[in-house]
Each structure stands twice: as structure tokens, then as C-alpha cells.
């Protein structure tokens, strides 16, 4: 294992791998990524795989649009021999309360002003996109045809392989046990396989970021929250877009292979547990069959779970950490780390290299919580 590095990235998920690739592509040498388990073991490898541009704040819209544009070309950018399976079937967001309808109107106006060509649809118009949709109780829909989903496993491997070709070292089963800080500066990282001396550390450890931050004496206020998900048997293609309801608390999409993947966000206590529960299955079935009655006859094959890392305002925490020179953070995505991953990689690499970022991220810094400048995003599950 390397004993020195230009930067040590803690966390081998999409944020860490995409940043490692971009740093190497921009010319940085000796980039090291540490992953405490196997690649794809964390939150990225367990996620719902959605990629959407329909957001309620200007910054999220800009980040999501840029990320989506990278997804569109990612196979070529990373020269991947496989396929990240990016399917742009759109996202159909379903409003079931009057308050949501008003919010959708505002969101669509904002999105359109930023070049995201989302549209507001009546429930009847939504039927043209999802003919089997049960529109009972749906007041309006918002649709954007360029949203979609990608295969998180292949997206990660594409980044990992491209990064390795550029000289990035990825160490799996390597757990960080300490961060060495001297005189307010990063000096190195302690792991279960020995120490690595470095002047820069990026914490991209998802739900474990608070624990890792504490090793450097920094409080990163994210809490782990279990989210469950299931996949069905593969059947003929019937569902083009990802369907999603914020108030109804459900998302459901059909994979290119024909399987349906669906989940919802239950209110859960802080936990690192990633077990599955029986009650999830029952509630999930009820929610899914409400919107797509034909799912009744489809078989569930598997359920699993993963962790969101929830920040106080459910927005990412990106950028330099002021208290410790050489420390950077990319976490707090609150369930959207995968879709923002490609643009996170670009922006964090620019930030670490001291370059101007192509989209301003200063509002997303860690110090915003101390300043009391939290960001309000109305459109999250």
C-alpha cells in the first residue's frame, strides 16, 4: 500500500470515485481512495438509481442538469467497456395535495427558466405517458423527459476502472481508524493496514461521515437513516418513466431488464442497521398497487436496504473545511448522492485543485450550519 499520497479520499462510493477520477484526469498524481469494505458495499450500491432534474431550488436544478448531461455521455467519457444503462424514460411526479400542485407550478416555472424543459400535466395527460396509471387522487403531474435512471454498479465500476487507468490507487477492505492533524493541518490518515502521509483528505464517507469527521475533530452533522427497497421479477416493459409522489411517499421504476424497483422513505430512528423488515413489504405493496394496479400480479424477488446520510437541511455538504487546512468534504446528499455523483466529482476536483468551480458551491459549505444559512429544498422524498 502507498505510504504517501497527494490526497486520500475516504469512501469508495460514487462521490469518492468520481472525485478521484476527475482529480487524476486534471493531472493530480498519487490519488488514493480508501474503502472499508468491497466496492459497491455502501449507499451507492444500494440506491434507487434515479437521476432527476426536477428540483425546487436553482442550485439543485443547475447541479442536477449538469450531472444528467454527464450521465448521458458517461460511457464515452470514461471509455467504459460495459454500459452504465442510463435510461431516460423521464420522471413523472404525481401531486396528491393542493399544496403540491402549487409547488409543482413554481418548480416547473423555475426549471423552465434554467433550461430544464419540464411540463405540468393533467392526470389525463399523464395517462398518455403511463397508460396503466390509476389517476384516482392524483391532482396534477410534472414530467421531464430527460430524467431517468442508471445502473449504480456499472457507473461505479466505470469510474473505478477509468480512475485506475489514470494511476489512482483504490484500496478496498481498508478502514480509516484515525486522521492525523497537526497545527490545524492534515498530516495523514491511519488505517487498519498502516498509515498514509498526505496533506489533503476528502471525506466522502456517506452515512459514516460524522464518525470520520470526528477523527479530524470536525463535526459533520449528518445522521444515518435506513431506507428499504425491493425488486420484482422481470416482465415486459410497461412503465417508461420513474413515477414518484412526495406526499404519497413512493418511487417506482422499471429497469432496462424489465424488473421493477421501488421504495419509500419511512420515518426511522437514527440507525446504521441495513436489515430488511416485513412491514416494509406490506406497506410498499399497498403504495405500489395504488398507483399501478397491475403490479398485484407481479412477484417480488428480493428486498434490501441502505443508508441515507441526512444533513440538517437535506442538502449536500461540499467544499473545504475551514477549521482544518487540507480537509474537504462531499457528503450529506440525503438520498441523492448517486444522481449528483458525476457533477460532485467535477466540482470537488476543481475545489481541491483551487480552481474556480463551474457551478458555485460556496453556499453548500459545512460552515453554513454555524452561520444558520440552511437551504430549503421543497421537493424531496
Amino acid at each position: 500500500m502507498n505510504r504517501t499520497a497527494e490526497i486520500v479520499i475516504i469512501g469508495g462510493g460514487i462521490s469518492g470515485l468520481a472525485t478521484a477520477y476527475n482529480l487524476a484526469a486534471m493531472g493530480m498524481k498519487d490519488v488514493v481512495v480508501l474503502e472499508k469494505s468491497y466496492l459497491m458495499s455502501g449507499s451507492t450500491g444500494r440506491c434507487g438509481a434515479g437521476v432527476r432534474q426536477q428540483w425546487g431550488t436553482e442550485m439543485n436544478c443547475l447541479l442536477a442538469k449538469a450531472s444528467c448531461e454527464i450521465f448521458e455521455n458517461l460511457n464515452e467519457i470514461l471509455d467504459y467497456e460495459g454500459d452504465i444503462e442510463f435510461k431516460q424514460g423521464g420522471y413523472l411526479l404525481m401531486a396528491v395535495t393542493e399544496k403540491e400542485v402549487e409547488q409543482f407550478k413554481k418548480n416547473v416555472a423555475l426549471q423552465n427558466s434554467l433550461g430544464i424543459k419540464s411540463v405540468l400535466l393533467s392526470p389525463e395527460e399523464a395517462l398518455e405517458i403511463v397508460p396503466d396509471l390509476n389517476i384516482e387522487g392524483i391532482l396534477a403531474c410534472a414530467f421531464h423527459h430527460k430524467d431517468g435512471h442508471a445502473n449504480p454498479f456499472h457507473t461505479m465500476i466505470a469510474y473505478a476502472e477509468a480512475a485506475k487507468r489514470l494511476g489512482v490507487k483504490i484500496y478496498t477492505y481498508t478502514e480509516v481508524t484515525g486522521i492525523m492533524v497537526e497545527g490545524g493541518r492534515i498530516r495523514g490518515v491511519k488505517t487498519n493496514r498502516g498509515d498514509i502521509f498526505t496533506g489533503r483528505v476528502l471525506i466522502a464517507a456517506g452515512a459514516w461521515s460524522r464518525e470520520v469527521g470526528a477523527m479530524a475533530g470536525v463535526d459533520i452533522p449528518v445522521r444515518p437513516e435506513r431506507h428499504q427497497i425491493l425488486v420484482t421479477e422481470p416482465v415486459n416493459h410497461r412503465l417508461g418513466p420513474m413515477i414518484m409522489s412526495f406526499a404519497g411517499n413512493i418511487y417506482c421504476q422499471q429497469e432496462p431488464g424489465g424488473e421493477f424497483i421501488m421504495g419509500y422513505g419511512p420515518a426511522e430512528h437514527e440507525t446504521y442497521s441495513i436489515t430488511s423488515s416485513w412491514d416494509f413489504l406490506e406497506v410498499m405493496c399497498r403504495k405500489a398497487v395504488r398507483f399501478l394496479p397491475y403490479l398485484r400480479n407481479i412477484r417480488i424477488v428480493r428486498q434490501w436496504s441502505g443508508l441515507y446520510e441526512i444533513s440538517p437541511d437535506a442538502q449536500p455538504i461540499l467544499g473545504r473545511v475551514e477549521q482544518v487546512e487540507g480537509l474537504y468534504v462531499a457528503t450529506g446528499f440525503s438520498g441523492h448522492g448517486f444522481m449528483f455523483g458525476p457533477i460532485t466529482g467535477v466540482l470537488m476536483a476543481q475545489c481541491i485543485l483551487g480552481l474556480p468551480t463551474t457551478i458555485p458551491i460556496d453556499k453548500l459549505d459545512l460552515a453554513r450550519f454555524e452561520r444558520g444559512e440552511l437551504i430549503f429544498e421543497p421537493s424531496v422524498v
Binding site: M40, E233, P234, L281, C285, V289, R299, R302, W304
Partner: protein, 94 residues
């Protein structure tokens, strides 16, 4: 035509594909599962889980008991949503 050995029948994964990944350094069952979908199909790895385990053990020259096996996830077998929603009335339908 080059002969192929199918390991995972649900997801159509061959031994040759798995060997290629092992050569690239992906030597954990969990990684190979996620990249190839071996064991992620309808039967949930009833046949291929042990085959993959044996091949991995051979490749990394260890005893199969030393290799971390992929998680067995619920439900134990495929189950229609209607059966779950119908509860006890549908017990016979599973």
C-alpha cells in the same frame, strides 16, 4: 464457436465472464455479483451461489469456507404482491 460454461442461468452469466473479472482483481463474491448480476435473478442464486463460491476459492487458492458469501435476502422465494396484500386469505396461493 468457443464453448461457454453457464454459471448463473437466470442472468445468463458465464464462467468466462467471471474469470475475466477475477483477472481484473474483482475477487469478492459481492463485487462479482453486482457487476455480472450472478445470483440476482429470479432463483436468487440457488444454483450459482455455490458454483461461484467454488470458482472463487479455486482462483484465490483458499478453502470455500474462508470466502465471504453474499447475503441471503428476503423473501425466501418469489411472492406475488397480491398474496402479501391478501394476507391470510391467500395462504394457498404462494
Amino acid at each position: 464457436m468457443k464453448s461457454k460454461t453457464v454459471i448463473c442461468r437466470c442472468e445468463d452469466v458465464t464462467l468466462e465472464e467471471i474469470e475475466e473479472l477475477m483477472e481484473k482483481g474483482y475477487t469478492s463474491m459481492d463485487e462479482i455479483k453486482r457487476i455480472t448480476r450472478c445470483g440476482m435473478g429470479q432463483c436468487q442464486g440457488r444454483t450459482c451461489r455455490t458454483l461461484l463460491l467454488a470458482e472463487l476459492a479455486k482462483a484465490v487458492k483458499t478453502h470455500p469456507a474462508e470466502i465471504k458469501i453474499t447475503t441471503f435476502r428476503p423473501p425466501a422465494k418469489n411472492i406475488k404482491m397480491s398474496v402479501i396484500l391478501g394476507g391470510i386469505d391467500n395462504e394457498q396461493n404462494g
